[in-house]
Amino acid sequence: MSKLRVLAASLLLVACMSAGAWASGELNAYSIMPEKYASQVFEAFTAETGIKVNFMRFSSGEALARVIAEKNNPQVDVILGGPADTYEAGIEEDVFEPYRPAGADAIPAKFRSKDDYWTGIGIIPLVFLTNADFLKEKGLEPPTSWNDLLDPAYKDGLQMADTRTSGTATERIYSLVKIMGEDEAFEYQKKLHQNIQMYTKSGAGGAMPIATGQCASGIFYIVDALDIQQQGYPVVLSYPVEGVSYGIEGSGILKGAKNMENARKYMDWVSSKSFAQFIVDRKINYIPTRDDVEVTNPALDLSKVKLIEVDVAWKGEKRKEYVDRWINEVIK
């Protein structure tokens, strides 16, 4: 009998435990930037300001789903990284707090939200990533045109991201639409689909299979492609002559942030010159949005790459339409 009571009491106890108070002098963050980069960024931030950072890493979709669900009781103060169109989608859901960081003037307006909901901290163009052994075996040159990927030699050899989950994949569609026009872009993708082995859920998901030779080639953000190359795998990076669009990595403060003062300090810091210099020095493969920092990695030298300008608001507007069209026309 008494054992049953103890049991009932302990069940209730578990049911009633609740959140402890948040300590001060802290910053809580979700990072869409990969963990190995985010840990360095936040370490440097703590070293500079003495503010302790708790963070977790999520893909852009997961992070956004979380902050929307947590809207009434935000668990974090800021988001680090992630494509600008994710932030635009978040603005629709009213989850961001506008703030214009101290260093904003040195960042071109096209890399910032027009109402200061987010600030761009780096840009990442798309790039082709191809297995070097595959090229040698087939006697091919690295692809230098979007049409090169339609070559039957790549049959069942392409892995790239699924548009439903990945910002990398929607970026691919934006590039194609800007290069070819809307209908032609989807015609092209239908042809490309013949060579697809698998659409991966995350933008970087296909890079490892390419590295290990499980498949031949794919289209990625440069940050993921360079990363796999730096790990020592036999891969080649190349750009199409028709050009590529690029993603803007943003950062922003959540509405109702519990450490608002620290969140603002953080935004000032990621917009500063010392931060831009920091990511260059640490070989974190984003190209700084500030133009007063020199990029040293030759792989990030984009002077020979044709970059296509795409308006972020347009991306946010078109995203759902293009994803629906992709499902119904390309993969059907």
Binding site: S2, L11, L12, M56, E70, N73, Q75, Y233
Partner: protein, 559 residues
């Protein structure tokens, strides 16, 4: 026991009433309430009830295809997984194999269960995917791994140990005297199996089919990695809608479609095993005899099958171990301890948090399983069916949906739980206790209630009878359930990926992070550490199960 005697039982035992109240309260708060909140978000559009969301789904060819794919996959996995599980359970409980071999078979089969599903998916892809090691070895040119086949293989490998654990507990409780009786009356071993052993294991088989069907129906991690675009399934579709298109309503509506088949299977299972008597522990039997030979050929085939599958599993996991120990998999095969150093520095907090949560959930979950199983099977209270159904509901729902429902439900006062450990503990306890509850119910099916009635007629209270008679008899089933619960605390991801917070992080989330960030070696190292931890803990609990089973057959049989 009818309604009136239930009332008198309450008068005699107020403890029973408070236990019942505690269970109903916790089920209401942690199962019913989140689902209702999610239901409201899904079906209430601008203050009015609306089925527009569901209608839109049924008109969409891709979602319709996902619905039928989910059913087909779940059926295939539940049948193949149960068949493999039965083969193993039969070998371990009925064949004269040396005890070290039993231990070995049992230990290896837990490997797929104690590692997050996406870990074995990687090993399977490297073996059977495009240009896979095994395909090259056997010269197979075209094998479409992505889609149904890969997902089916991976899920069967992941879930058949659940079936093995369920069926081994049931088969171990079937008294071999009954089989001996059949044999000594001149029946062939095959006929005894068909007419005695197999029918007696039907509650376990039904149980296993239900668990596996539900598990496959709700699994999102495996199809996420392996199904690709050509084989959409509902949980993955729901996840993609929620995280990819920020469409919470659409994702929630899709998962409500999942509830229909889950409900259907549950009702089918009740109708199938609810009517027959499977009492084998009656307190009236004599001592146990030795197991008799089942015929050389059949024994050889069963053992051969078990060994082949065991070797295949070992092979898959050696790939993961190798990946954790070398610098760059397949390129630079230099041995290094760098990956493990990473795990114990960057992953230290996640390891500590995960262990702490598992240590809290497991014992409480075990007690809860006994209570719910006992009340549902032995006491005929009003609403028992509803209680049993509720206790299994979170298990049938896709994890992503449970996660989202929890965030919606527990993000405001008075139940402000997001970001705490409690929300993780509750999610695990009410989502993964299904195996434990079903096991308790299945083993209570086999225990004649006259044993408890004897205790009651000798004047013992319901509480005393429960703790002194019923509990010891179901302990193997409870510990089995606790093992399963512990394993899930360590490996589950679908629900908790939404519930982890900057303060409470989990090992599985870290592994998935490493995978999506291409830190393959670190992902392998994390998996190896996780598997070591779970292996140690489950070996301990398996030892306890054996000890308890021995006590029952020793004392219960002769007592």
């Amino acid at each position: 026991m009818n309604q009136r005697s239930a009332v008198s039982a309450f008068k005699r035992d107020p403890a029973l009433l408070s236990a019942l109240a505690a269970i109903w309260l916790s089920l209401a708060v942690f199962v019913l309430y989140p689902v209702v909140r999610l239901f409201l978000v899904t079906f209430v559009v601008e203050g009015r009830l609306s089925f527009d969301n569901i209608g839109a789904l049924l008109g969409n060819w891709y979602d319709r295809q996902a619905f039928f794919n989910s059913l087909g996959l779940a059926a295939a996995v539940s049948v193949s997984g149960t068949a493999l599980g039965y083969m193993y359970a039969f070998a371990v409980t009925r064949l004269p194999v040396p005890s070290w071999l039993k231990w070995f078979l049992g230990a290896v089969t837990t490997l797929p269960l104690i590692s997050p599903p996406f870990t074995s998916s990687i090993a399977l892809t490297l073996s059977l995917g495009p240009k896979g090691i095994l395909l090259r070895l056997f010269g197979v040119q075209s094998f479409n791994f992505y889609g149904f086949w890969g997902t089916w293989m991976s899920e069967t490998l992941t879930y058949f140990p659940v079936s093995f654990m369920t069926l081994a507990a049931v088969l171990a409780a079937v008294d071999p005297n009954l089989e001996d009786a059949g044999l000594s009356l001149g029946a062939s071993p095959g006929r005894v199996f068909r007419t005695v052993t197999f029918p007696l294991s039907i509650p376990g088989i039904a149980n296993s089919l239900l668990l596996l069907f539900a598990a496959s129906l709700a699994d999102f991690a495996t199809p996420l990695v392996l199904a690709g675009h050509s084989f959409p399934v509902l949980p993955t579709q729901a996840y993609l809608l929620i995280t990819g298109l920020y469409d919470l309503r659409g994702g929630a509506s899709l998962s409500f479609l999942l509830l229909l088949p889950a409900l259907a299977v549950y009702i089918l299972q009740r109708a199938w095993i609810g009517k027959k008597s499977y009492v084998t522990v009656s307190g009236k039997a004599g001592g146990r005899s030795q197991f008799k030979s089942k015929g050389r050929l059949a024994e050889g085939a069963i053992l051969g099958g078990c060994l082949a599958l065991t070797l295949f599993i070992l092979y898959l996991y050696s790939i993961i171990l190798w990946g954790a120990m070398v610098k760059v998999w397949g390129v630079d095969n230099t041995l290094t301890s760098e990956n493990f150093r990473y795990v114990f520095t960057h992953g230290r907090n996640a390891i500590a948090d995960t262990l702490y949560i598992a240590a809290v959930v497991t014992p409480i979950g075990g007690l809860l399983a006994v209570l719910i199983g006992y009340i549902a099977q032995r006491r005929r209270f009003f609403g028992n069916r509803v209680m049993e159904f509720l206790s299994l509901l979170n298990y049938a729902l896709p994890g992503t949906v449970v996660g989202i429902a929890y965030i919606i439900a527990f993000n405001e006062k008075p139940l402000l739980l997001t970001g705490t450990m409690t929300i993780l503990v509750a999610a695990y306890m009410f989502r993964y206790n299904a195996a434990g509850i079903r096991a308790v119910i299945a083993s209570l099916h086999q225990i004649d209630s006259s044993i408890e009635e004897a205790s009651a007629s000798l004047g013992a209270s319901a509480g005393r009878t429960f703790f002194r008679v019923t509990t010891p008899l179901v302990i193997p089933a409870v510990i089995m359930g606790m093992r399963y619960l512990f394993i899930h605390c360590m490996t589950a991801i679908s629900a908790t990926i939404f519930l982890v917070s900057v303060r409470w992080n989990l090992l599985t989330t870290r592994i998935l992070e490493c995978m999506t960030e291409l830190q393959f070696a670190q992902a392998c190292a994390f998996s190896v550490v996780l598997i070591m931890i779970v292996f140690g803990a489950t070996a301990l609990m398996a030892g306890l199960t054996r000890l308890a089973a021995r006590r029952i057959s020793g004392e219960g049989g002769r007592g």
